[in-house]
C-alpha cells in the first residue's frame, strides 16, 4: 500500500508519537492540573512542555498564548466567532478551505461584511489585490498559508504589512504548512495562527491549536465554550487568564503528548531536511505526470512556491474512477473531489468535478512515487 493522502492526515505515525501516547496512558494519565497529585502533575507537565515547544516552534515567547483545540477548524472558528462582530469587514482569499469559508458565510448572515480576493488560476495571490479591498473598517484578514488543493503558498508576510497598515489583524491557517515550512509569527507579522497536529506535525487526529501573538490583546476574543478550567474555581464567571479562558473542559492529554513527540521528531530531523525530501518527491511526481497524455496539472508546479500537494485531472476520466482504481488495482491511496475547498476549485477551474490529489509525506519514498506514476500511466492509457 502506498499512502499519498498526507495533506488530509499524515500516516503512519512515527513510533515516537505512538510511544508517547501509550506512555501517557500507562504512567501519567491524570487530569492535568486539576487534582494536585503526582499523576495529575505529570499530566500537567506534558501539557505545559508541549505548549512551550509549540510557542518556540512558531516564534512566540509566551507559552500561555498557545491555546489547544481539537484541530485547525476549531482554532479558526474560535478566532472568527470569538472576534468578529456585526459590521466588521473581513478579507479572505479565494483559496480558503471550508474551515474558513463556512464560519465566514455563517457570520455574514449575522452582519459581517466579507470580501473574497480572487487568486490566480495557479492559486497564487497578488498582495496588491488585498491592498485594494482592505479599508480602515477591516478587522481581520484570513489567509491559508498554503492551499490544501494545489499546495500554492500565499504571501503571508506581505499581506501582514498591508493588514497592519489598515489596523487589521492577520489570521493564518497553517494546516498545510506547520511542520514543513518554517513559521515565525513574530518575524512574519502573523497575529493569530491556526494549526492542526495530525498532518505534517506528525501528531494524532483530534489535537490542534490557536497561537496568539505576543502583542495581541486576548480580551478581544470571546471563548467558544465556557466551563471548568481548574483555576479560580470559587468563581462562576469564565476566567480571562490565558490559556484557561479558551480551554474549558479536560484537555486531550493523549493527543497533546503525541503532538509533542511529533514536534520533537521534526526538530531532530530538521524542517528544511523534511521540506527538501518532500520537494524532491513532488518534483518527480509532477515531472512524471507531465509526461503522460491527457493529464492536466494544477498549481504553480514550482516547489519553491508551494508545498508537496499535487492535483491533476485526466481528460475523459472521472476523478472518482481514477481514485478508485488507484486504490483497488494498485493500493495507492489518494483523495479525489473538492477537498472541502469549493472556492479553491472554482479558482483553479476544476469545479465541480474536482481533482485527484496526491500528497507525499515524510515516510514516502521515491520508489512509491515511481509506482504511482506508472499506475496512473496505465489508468490514463486504459
Amino acid at each position: 500500500m502506498i499512502y499519498l493522502d498526507h495533506a488530509a492526515t499524515s500516516w503512519p505515525k512515527p513510533i515516537e508519537v505512538i510511544e508517547a501516547m501509550t506512555d501517557v496512558l500507562e504512567s501519567a494519565g491524570g487530569n492535568p492540573g486539576r487534582s494536585g497529585h503526582r499523576v495529575s502533575i505529570a499530566a500537567a507537565r506534558i501539557v505545559y512542555d508541549t505548549r512551550e515547544e509549540i510557542s518556540r516552534f512558531f516564534g512566540v515567547s509566551d507559552p500561555l498564548r498557545v491555546i489547544f483545540t481539537g484541530n485547525a477548524t476549531h482554532a479558526i472558528n474560535l478566532a472568527l466567532i470569538g472576534m468578529l462582530k456585526p459590521g466588521d469587514h473581513v478579507v479572505a482569499s479565494s483559496m480558503e478551505h471550508n474551515a474558513v469559508m463556512r464560519p465566514l458565510r455563517s457570520l455574514e448572515k449575522k452582519g459581517i461584511h466579507l470580501s473574497i480576493v480572487r487568486c490566480a488560476s495557479d492559486g497564487s495571490l497578488d498582495v496588491e489585490d488585498v491592498a485594494d479591498v482592505v479599508t480602515s473598517d477591516t478587522r481581520l484578514v484570513i489567509l491559508a498559508h498554503a492551499s490544501n488543493v494545489v499546495g500554492t503558498l500565499l504571501p503571508v508576510a506581505e499581506v501582514a504589512v498591508v493588514a497592519h497598515q489598515a489596523g487589521a489583524l492577520l489570521l493564518v491557517d497553517a494546516a498545510q504548512t506547520a511542520g514543513v515550512i518554517p513559521i515565525d509569527m513574530t518575524a512574519m507579522g502573523i497575529d493569530l495562527l491556526a494549526f492542526t497536529g495530525h498532518k505534517e506535525l506528525q501528531g494524532p487526529p483530534g489535537i490542534g491549536g490557536l497561537v496568539i501573538a505576543d502583542n495581541i490583546d486576548s480580551a478581544q476574543i470571546d471563548p467558544l465554550i465556557c466551563g471548568g478550567t481548574g483555576s479560580r474555581s470559587e468563581s462562576e464567571e469564565q476566567p480571562e487568564d490565558l490559556p484557561d479562558k479558551f480551554e474549558s473542559g479536560t484537555a486531550n492529554l493523549v493527543g497533546i503528548a503525541g503532538l509533542g513527540a511529533g514536534l520533537r521528531r521534526i526538530k531532530d530531523i530538521g524542517i528544511e531536511e523534511t521540506r527538501a525530501h518532500l520537494k524532491t518527491l513532488a518534483r518527480a511526481l509532477i515531472d512524471g505526470l507531465s509526461a503522460l497524455p491527457d493529464i492536466t496539472l494544477y498549481g504553480t508546479l514550482d516547489l519553491d512556491r508551494s508545498v508537496a500537494v499535487v492535483s491533476f485531472t485526466v481528460t475523459g476520466k472521472r476523478v472518482s474512477e481514477i481514485g478508485f482504481r488507484l486504490d483497488q488495482d494498485y493500493g495507492i491511496l489518494s483523495r479525489v473531489g473538492l477537498h472541502c475547498a469549493p472556492a479553491a476549485h472554482r479558482t483553479i477551474g476544476s469545479f465541480p468535478e474536482g481533482t485527484v490529489r496526491l500528497a507525499p509525506g515524510v515516510f514516502t519514498t521515491m520508489d512509491d512515487i515511481q509506482q504511482a506514476i506508472q499506475a496512473i500511466g496505465r489508468i490514463v492509457r486504459s
Binding site: G36, R51, E234
Partner: protein, 78 residues
C-alpha cells in the same frame, strides 16, 4: 527545619511555567496541591524554601509570570 512558602497562580500553565523557570535558575521547588487555607481553588501550587523568596520572585517577575499570592507555610509540608 526548612521553612516553606507557597506561591499560588491563576492557571495550571502558569504554575508549570514557574516550576520550570525556578529549576532552571537552580531554585529548589515542589508542586503541591493548593493548600485549602489559602484558596478554594482545585489546582496546583508551587512550594519553595522561604529563604529563596526574593530569588524566586525575581525569576517570575523577569519572565512576566503572573502569580496570584505568596504565603508563608512555615515548616508544614503543605
Amino acid at each position: 527545619m526548612t521553612q516553606y512558602g507557597v506561591i499560588l497562580f491563576h492557571t495550571t500553565a502558569s504554575v508549570m511555567r514557574a516550576e520550570k523557570l525556578s529549576i532552571k535558575k537552580g531554585v529548589s521547588v515542589k508542586l503541591i496541591p493548593t493548600p485549602r487555607q489559602f484558596s478554594t481553588d482545585c489546582g496546583i501550587a508551587l512550594r519553595f524554601d522561604w529563604s529563596c523568596r526574593d530569588l524566586i520572585m525575581s525569576v517570575l517577575e523577569e519572565a512576566q509570570v503572573e502569580s496570584d499570592a505568596v504565603h508563608f507555610l512555615d515548616t508544614r509540608p503543605v
